[in-house]
Symmetry: C2
Subunit: 157 residues, 2 copies
């Protein structure tokens, strides 16, 4: 199985870059893993937030394959324990899913099309985090999930 | 009012250091702010986790002043929305609290004495984060709270 992280916006800011690279490299010992940074629409400045979401949604839908398992990071999603995420990844591994995609939406979220397409909506916390920090938290949690599934000692709770 | 962040353990790892410094500097535009890294007990290797917590608890209690408002980061604590944290900080500012201390405990948590002393127990998320990453998340959330209380545009949700 392959794990992909997709994020709409700018490249990593320096304050998260090292951590994202660190945990992504660690994940690569368990799964093929990659990041795709999808630039915000060039017309962002002249578009309404709704039109911007639709524009970005089209790009996302074009990139998705029918069989991809799409996990949308969304504040209206479900709160998970780290063990729940580990289970979710293990289930997808067991049922021969080819690719899990974790998607961090744009500044205003994602279009209704993408919301509907998502196989699972996950809220990291009741707290609002900057999208850059979400990248780091996400990479760490997916690495943690890998270690939980292998009974490794990183996660000791 | 002064805001202090206390954390038991090692100095910042490189992957969080820049972000912690970034958000701490931003907080300094609103409140006097400082970090105190309390080293793990030198006897950690030969102590049970319970004795280690008691040892660290004594150090913490010696550092605390009676009037300090202690917020303990604890997974059994209350989940907050970013706006709730902003309210909490604003209330303490209004009632002339001299010092808020945010405490990240040791590897095994904190002693019962410290648990009892805490004025508030706060769980960031149902997810388990490494304590290093908690430092970064905490600094960002306290900065966010400052901007919420001043109606600044950083927090736009």
């Amino acid at each position: 199985m392959q794990i992909q992280f997709w994020s709409i916006g700018k490249k990593n800011e320096p304050y998260v870059d090292e951590g994202v690279a660190l945990f992504t490299k660690r994940i690569s010992h368990y799964y093929k893993v990659d990041w795709k940074i999808i630039p915000t629409s060039k017309n962002a400045a002249v578009l309404t937030s709704e039109d911007l979401k639709v524009d970005e949604g089209k790009i996302i839908n074009n990139l998705l394959h029918k069989e991809d398992y799409l996990i949308l990071l969304d504040e209206r999603g479900k709160n998970l324990h780290s063990e729940d995420l580990a289970n979710l990844i293990q289930q997808r591994t067991n049922d021969s899913t080819k690719q899990i995609i974790f998607l961090i939406g744009g500044a205003y979220g994602v279009s209704n099309d993408v919301l509907t397409r998502a196989n699972f909506k996950w809220s990291l916390s009741n707290l609002v985090f900057p999208h850059q920090l979400v990248r780091l938290i996400l990479a760490e949690q997916v690495y943690r999930a890998c270690t939980i599934n292998k009974n490794e000692k990183y996660h000791h709770q």
